[in-house]
């Protein structure tokens, strides 16, 4: 059994809402509200959900880029959620992030070489020769020409900028990369290039990915396990095939039927959900999905379902799916 690289337990991230001239806290947005998951070395966890479901906040909390309200995040056994800033400095090189908009996450005034080497300059002391060598190797590994080192971000296309972002993320040889919608802003033909690159790098360096996306077909292609988020909670978590072959939570089912059928496959019947996700500012009694769920019953309004194991490795938070008794509790 491979030990877990990242373990998240009951993670909560709440943002205060202030109002009035005194900026008093009048409430909280429960962006992430008690989620648990783990990622093994070299594996990919896909995180799906609609806007506002807390995907990005989860990714940021993993790297401690936002303050964690409660719960723990451990990377290789080190508790990130409790780490002090000098401890964080030691942990951070092991975890990196790739952002959604490739151009806006690159400093327009730095050359490609300086962008890629920035994490190195910050964390390691390299001689000029070694630094140049490291840059060359990173550029090779993401498929950028070495001749481009002195160019600036505006001279590159979206796909190339994303490659620069990936090279920068790789510079410190991380164990975990949080990919926040890394291909959402790219054209189809370029998306495939970046996805293949991420795959190759994963195999080469045994990287673990938290792959955040709203594109179900990309998640299916990239992920080993998938977690579906709705309003700050994980409503279903399962290995990729189990989830796509037999989605159990009504929200997952609706999400999958709503995704446009891929060309050439038979058109499926769409489950069209009524309404939109409610706001995550107030506490919601019962199941978070209740207001849009086509199968909601009285019990859904009274009690929030917990994420329970309903089949092997398949966890669902829904009253319709009673938990099975696990043979042994570990």
């Amino acid at each position: 059994m491979t030990p877990e690289l990242v373990e998240v337990k009951d993670l909560k991230v709440h943002f205060p809402v202030t109002s009035g001239i005194l900026r008093r806290t009048t409430g909280h947005v429960r962006a992430v509200d008690g989620i648990s998951f783990s990622i093994r070395r070299g594996r990919t966890l896909g995180l799906v959900g609609e806007s506002g479901s807390g995907k990005t906040t989860t990714g940021r909390a993993l790297l401690r880029l936002v303050d964690i309200t409660s719960g723990t995040v451990t990377l290789e056994g080190v508790d990130i959620s409790a780490a002090r800033s000098h401890e964080l400095r030691e942990i951070r090189p092991k975890m990196q992030m790739i952002f959604q908009d490739p151009l806006s996450c690159l400093n327009p005034r730095l050359s490609v070489a300086d962008i890629i080497a920035e994490p190195l300059d910050e964390n390691r002391r390299l001689a000029r020769r070694e630094r140049a060598h490291a840059i060359d190797q990173l550029m090779d590994s993401v498929g950028l020409l070495r001749a481009w080192v002195d160019r600036f971000p505006h001279e590159f296309s979206g796909g190339q900028c994303q490659r620069i972002g990936i090279a920068r993320a790789l510079a410190l040889k991380p164990r975990l990369i949080v990919c926040d919608e890394p291909i959402a802003s790219l054209d189809f033909s370029v998306q495939a290039q970046i996805v293949n690159l991420l795959r190759d790098l994963q195999d080469e360096h045994a990287l673990a990915y938290l792959f955040i996306s709203h594109d179900l077909s990309m998640i299916r292609h990239m992920a080993d396990d998938v977690a579906v988020m709705y309003l700050g909670k994980i409503v279903e978590r399962a290995p990729v095939n189990a989830l796509f072959d037999a989605p159990m939570h009504p929200y997952t089912q609706a999400l999958m039927s709503a995704a446009p059928s891929m060309p050439g496959t038979a058109r499926r019947r769409r489950i069209v959900l009524e309404g939109e996700s409610p706001s995550s500012s107030g506490p919601i009694a019962g199941c978070v999905f209740r207001s849009r769920c086509p199968m909601a019953t009285a019990v859904c309004g009274q009690r929030a379902p917990s994420l329970a194991t309903v089949a092997k490795d398949h966890r669902v938070a829904c009253h319709l799916h009673p938990p099975i008794l696990e043979p042994h509790t570990s």
Binding site: E50, S51, S157, G159, D187, F188, S189, V190, Q191, A192, Q193, V195, N196, R199, H214, L216, S217, M218, R220, H221, V240, N241, F244, A254, L255, S257, A258, A259, P260, S261, M262, P263, G264, T265, R267, R270, V272, L273, E276
Partner: protein
């Protein structure tokens, strides 16, 4: 076969700036038949939106300049019309839904005001009649409590609801053509599903022709009867939707379909990619714009622009090899 509602021939649009001229639309010709849903797909910069905006004179000129072409709508030439005449058509007979619903609505006016404006202008309705019709259409696109929501401002609506308002506005004068430019791109998939269902039901009810621009092949496969594929400012392939996705004839269409991970097959395989980048369009095409990235390009592809070749089954492909190349 139903009649042709809109006929576009040899449309060419360029953008002139001080440094350079960008050839955004290069000799685009297509027909739109009554009651059909025409999907337009292509990557960013392929000229999808510019083509449609050129039809109605919606592009600011300068920098945009429609150099060549004719656009015939119902026997009238749209390109030679003056602004006043175009205004009578735009909104009344041809409705437009833009990509970003939040920025297309005026934030300081109420939803009701914005909905009533085209009806009062085009249909000459009184304020009272326009208001009741506005409520009717808001109800139709599935906004609850329509009567009260007319007094709300756009910021009180979510993205999906704003897009519904835009659709209600475009439909309120019962246009004969609805042009929707990436209407669901900014929305979540479950909201997108709601909008797609809505459009399908509205089309049944009003029988208008729809031009649906999207970069999402899945959405187009879902909604369109016929599809235009654009690349580098040209139409590279036209075909009935099912045939296009089952048997693409242009190498670009084929490559594009292969890059999409199919939902039914999965695993740790690699995705097919199209090497290289999309063309920059700084000069008028002198050869096939896809030739540099094409795997089957021949010398001729780099020397002349391939014309649209008619193929059996009401389809066309702008490729020298489309006629000969059989299915792999």
């Amino acid at each position: 076969m139903t009649g042709t509602l809109l006929e576009v021939r040899g449309l060419r649009t360029v953008f002139r700036t001080r440094e350079k001229t960008v050839h955004a639309v290069n000799s685009v010709s297509f027909d739109l038949h009554e009651g059909e849903v025409l999907g337009v797909v292509g990557e960013s910069g392929s000229g999808k939106s510019v083509t449609m905006m050129s039809l109605l004179g919606l592009l600011p000129s300068p920098p945009a300049d429609i150099v060549e072409g004719t656009v015939t709508f119902d026997g009238r030439d749209l390109l030679s019309m003056d602004t006043a005449e175009l205004r009578r058509i735009c909104g009344a007979e041809i409705g437009f839904v833009f990509q970003n619903p939040m920025t297309s609505l005026n934030p300081v006016l109420t939803i009701g005001h914005q909905l009533m404006e085209p009806m009062r202008h085009h249909l000459g309705l009184s304020a009272r009649a326009a208001r009741s019709r506005a409520r009717e259409f808001l109800d139709l696109v599935g906004i609850p409590d329509a009567g009260r929501r007319l007094n709300d401002h756009p910021h009180q609506f979510s993205g999906g609801m704003c897009q519904r308002v835009m659709i209600a506005m475009a439909l309120s004068c019962t246009p004969r053509i609805l042009i929707a430019d990436e209407p669901t791109t900014a929305l979540d998939v479950t909201i997108q599903a709601q909008i797609l269902d809505l459009v399908a039901s509205l089309r049944e009810r009003f029988g208008m022709a729809i031009v649906w621009i999207s970069h999402d092949l899945g959405v187009v496969a879902d909604i369109a009867d016929r599809v235009l594929v654009m690349y580098g400012g040209r139409i590279v392939e036209t075909a009935p939707a099912d045939d296009l996705f089952r048997r693409p004839r242009h190498p670009y269409t084929r490559a594009l379909l292969e890059t999409v991970p199919a939902a039914h097959r999965c695993g740790r395989g690699r995705l097919a990619t199209i090497p290289g980048q999309t063309p920059t369009l700084v000069e008028a095409p002198r050869c096939c714009s896809f030739a540099p990235r094409c795997t089957i390009a021949i010398t001729r592809c780099r020397e002349e622009v391939p014309p649209a070749i008619s193929l059996p089954g009401h389809r066309e492909a702008a490729c020298f090899l489309a006629g000969q190349h059989n299915d792999p």
